[in-house]
């Protein structure tokens, strides 16, 4: 049978209205989840409205200070002074929208967040001096992606390769020792290895720099890139070291499970070479769960890892989040959470979409 024919048969089997209904259901649910997660963050990040009070008293102070430096104002009678002061405060509070109750404003915040109009940061600025939350986040995003996405893909590749090797010689010496390594490294987070690696490799042995992005400002692009790569090395190694064991463990277990399936036995009985069995019969069914995990891990890696980045003073989104918390910059905190939630939800939706197409059980659901 040719490929086109196969495709047509497959399409006929899909119950299109049922499939669409399934997708619509999922989309509504994910949107609802997104809203709840965002709203929760808004409430917490604004301290349940407390930030508003801080802002109001700040405005009051600003106004009084400005007026007290105005000689014309000081000549006015006292009642007049008070009246002007109060009116200015009221105007400014209104201008910033602080006169509405917090519940109402939180709904506005939610609408803004969901439409990705992230507004302006209260204190933090981008390196270029912009106070737009989007600018601040976009400036940091590449560094998190560079470190953690590279690290996640690298550790998945290493882990999958090691896992395959383990499965091939299951219960051998290599398998057993890797198993222990995997359990130990995957139960310890990367930031923890980071502290120890920094102490040993950077401070004691002096092989790597003690954190940061560059050691000094560069004018030459090439030298800059080399310096960044040099600073990237240790956090990257740490990340790969901390997470490859988990990949190896999972891959090994999935592969061993599939190797016991009848169709693999049949392929063996047919006398196919072991290599061909591994790549054509075992890896194919093993791919979907591993790809799912990889997709979710990469999404999660975009937000960086707050503590790992702090340990290495890596200027990514994780450090940004920590800085934003440190100065209670609610718009930045909310912006980061929303971006993260969006990425996550979209990935899940795409995975749903693909799985529903691939999995006959899901495909005919509701039809």
């Amino acid at each position: 049978m040719n490929k086109a024919g196969k495709q047509r048969r497959l399409m006929r089997k899909i119950n299109i209205p049922g499939y669409l209904r399934f997708l619509a259901k999922r989309a509504i649910f994910l949107l609802l989840t997104l809203m709840i997660a965002t709203y929760l963050t808004i409430i917490i990040a604004n301290f349940g409205g407390y930030i508003d009070e801080i802002l109001k008293s700040q405005i009051e102070w600003e106004v009084s200070w400005e007026l007290s430096r105005d000689p014309a104002f000081r000549k006015l009678p006292e009642e007049e002074q008070e009246r002007i002061r109060l009116r200015m405060i009221e105007d400014r509070i209104k201008a910033r929208g602080l006169d509405k109750p917090f519940i109402l404003r939180s709904i506005i915040y939610l609408r803004d967040a969901l439409t990705l109009s992230l507004g302006r940061a209260m204190y933090l600025r981008s390196a270029g001096g912009s106070s737009r939350v989007a600018d601040i986040i976009l400036e940091r995003l590449p560094w998190s992606v560079l470190l953690f996405t590279t690290g996640t893909i690298l550790s998945a590749l290493v882990g999958i390769y090691v896992g395959l090797y383990m499965a091939k010689r299951a219960l051998g010496v290599f398998d057993r020792s890797m198993m222990v390594t995997a359990i130990l490294t995957s139960s310890i987070p990367a930031w923890f290895f980071g502290i120890i690696f920094l102490l040993v490799f950077s401070i004691q042995l002096g092989i790597f720099p003690p954190g940061g992005l560059v050691s000094r400002p560069h004018t030459e692009l090439f030298a800059y890139i080399i310096d960044v790569l040099y600073h990237l090395a240790l956090p990257l190694i740490t990340w790969v070291f901390a997470s490859f064991g988990g990949w190896a463990y999972v891959t090994r277990n999935i592969v061993i499970q599939i190797m016991r399936e009848d169709f693999v036995m049949a392929a063996r009985a047919k006398g196919l070479p072991e290599r061909r069995i591994l790549y054509k019969y075992v890896l194919r069914p093993a791919a979907p769960p591993i790809v799912t995990m990889l997709a979710l891990a990469i999404i999660a890696s975009w937000t960086g890892a707050i503590i790992t980045e702090t340990v290495f003073s890596w200027p990514g989104l994780g450090t940004l989040y920590w800085e934003a918390i440190g100065v209670m910059d609610a718009p930045v905190i909310i912006g980061l959470t929303v971006i993260y939630a969006y990425l996550y939800v979209i990935t899940i939706f795409i995975l749903d979409l693909v799985y529903a197409l691939l999995d006959p059980r899901v495909r005919t659901l509701g039809g």
């Binding site: 709840i36 997660a37 061993i256 707050i306 959470t337 993260y340």
Partner: protein
């Protein structure tokens, strides 16, 4: 393949048959011993002083553990304390009067033997006095080679009640550098009294890496002159060493042994409670979801999906920063955020299979209530599996607490391993080479996490038949 064992005892027996199980149980037994020792070595009132810097003044700052000696092969200085009682034992005072002039002379002296291969890290002199009409105080250090160094010669006015002198004071540094100039004729580029005063006379006596320690008996002499018989003075001297105790000290002179020992029950209680509560609640909701099906199932499953998407760690960091909560409230919040999760999903799928089994149908047929079936027939079946989940979840909670403490968001009172580690990082312990301050708490955290991970793995292999075959 035999059926998976049921019941805690049977599982423990099986666990002890595996290598990883034995290692895990051994580490846990060690930790339990630590927990038992804690109240004996450091009762709670010692720990209450953990954040009180005055409680630790007798300890050296950033001192390495004592067993470092074995590694460097040198006798490293311990802290020498000459208490007020020691001085009082040698106190000699006379009152001379002539007409309406009264003079009281006080003299006391104490000595200590210094035969270590390294210099002290600091020294400090404290005095309490009753001074009604003014007092002149001279304090001298007499070295084993006979040199006398006047550390203090000062007239105190009436009403003063105490003074302190330490190796970090600029007057003491000046005295030390004058002494070098007197001996060698050159003025030193580094002025470290704790080195100069304890060094053999040479050109390099100011240079900590070249100077040689002058071993022998040092004397400290105090002479005071005052004008009423009521005046008195008491002296205390501490020569801070470079090593201390089993685990050393931190930059606030705190004995890390106390903090690390107390970290054990705190970490275990926190992580075990969190892991147990979260796993059991999730298991229960998973059973309910799987057993009842229908609307209940739909609600619990959607709620689980929702909670699994919410970014919990950032929110936890946010909450602990804004509200400055203690460790036990944090525990409650963590449990609150994880009443549903991956365990709910796994248990639900297990229950979907279990509830079709004949013994459940039999129970239904003789009229057992749903809750009876859930607690008497389904829960015991799922329980062994939850044991492994609890054990596997413990490390993540240990590290969660450590992570929050590391960021400075931990419990404000109790010392925890993460807090000690975080302080070490914040004070740049790695940079200064205070490795014990980092590696020992890190070792404790890692050891505990590894023990539970191995235990969870061992139980998992026993109760999870799929893994048993492999």
């Amino acid at each position: 393949m035999s059926a998976p064992p049921v019941g805690a005892k049977a599982i423990l027996k099986e666990v002890l048959r595996t290598k990883s199980g034995i290692i895990a149980i051994a580490i846990l037994a060690f930790l339990v011993c630590v927990v038992v020792i804690v109240p004996l070595y450091a009762p709670y009132d010692v720990v209450k002083k953990w954040n009180d810097p005055r409680a630790w003044l007798d300890n050296p700052r950033c001192a390495a553990p004592e067993w470092v000696e074995l590694m460097v092969g040198k006798k490293l200085p311990r802290t020498i304390k000459i208490s007020m009682e020691d001085f009082r034992a040698t106190k000699y005072s006379t009152v001379l009067s002539h007409g309406n002039l009264t003079i009281k002379l006080i003299r006391m002296m104490a000595y200590f033997d210094y035969d270590y291969d390294d210099f002290p890290s600091e020294f400090g002199i404290m005095a309490n006095m009753t001074c009604l009409k003014g007092m002149k105080v001279d304090i001298k250090l007499i070295r084993p080679d006979g040199d006398e160094i006047l550390l203090l010669s000062k007239v105190f006015s009436s009403g003063e009640s105490s003074f302190m002198l330490s190796s970090g004071d600029s007057e003491v540094k000046l005295i030390a550098s004058n002494y070098v100039a007197e001996v060698t004729g050159i003025s030193p580029s580094l002025r470290l009294p704790q080195v100069i005063l304890f060094a053999e006379k040479s050109e390099d006596m100011w240079n900590p890496s070249k100077a040689k320690v002058l071993k022998g008996r040092y004397k400290i002499v105090l002479e005071a002159t005052s004008f009423t018989p009521e005046d008195d003075i008491d002296l205390e001297v501490i020569i801070y060493g470079k090593v201390f105790g089993v685990f050393g000290t931190d930059s606030l002179r705190r004995d890390l042994l106390v903090g690390l020992l107390w970290g054990a029950p705190v970490a275990l209680a926190f992580a075990l409670t969190a892991a147990t509560a979260v796993t059991l609640i999730q298991t229960f909701l998973g059973i309910v979801s799987g057993y009842f099906g229908g609307k209940v199932d739909e609600i619990i499953q959607r709620f689980t999906d929702l909670m699994m998407i919410i970014p919990v760690l950032p929110i936890l960091i946010l909450i602990s920063f804004l509200y400055r909560i203690g460790i036990w409230l944090l525990l409650v919040i963590i449990v609150g955020f994880s009443i549903v999760g991956s365990t709910t999903k796994v248990v639900r799928s297990m229950v979907l299979q279990i509830k079709e089994e004949q013994y459940i149908l039999a129970a239904v047929s003789y009229g057992a209530s749903s809750w009876r079936i859930i607690f008497r027939h389904i829960f015991p079946r799922v329980l062994p599996y939850t044991f492994s989940l609890i054990a596997l979840a413990v490390p993540s909670y240990i590290f969660l607490e450590a992570a929050l403490s590391f960021l400075g968001l931990g419990d404000p009172v109790l010392p925890t391993w993460g807090k000690i580690l975080g302080e070490a990082h914040a004070e740049g312990a790695a940079y200064y080479g205070y490795w014990w301050w980092i590696l020992i708490p890190a070792g404790f955290i890692a050891l505990t996490a590894i023990a539970f991970a191995l235990l969870g793995y061992a139980i998992d292999k026993i109760v999870n038949p799929r893994l048993r075959e492999i």
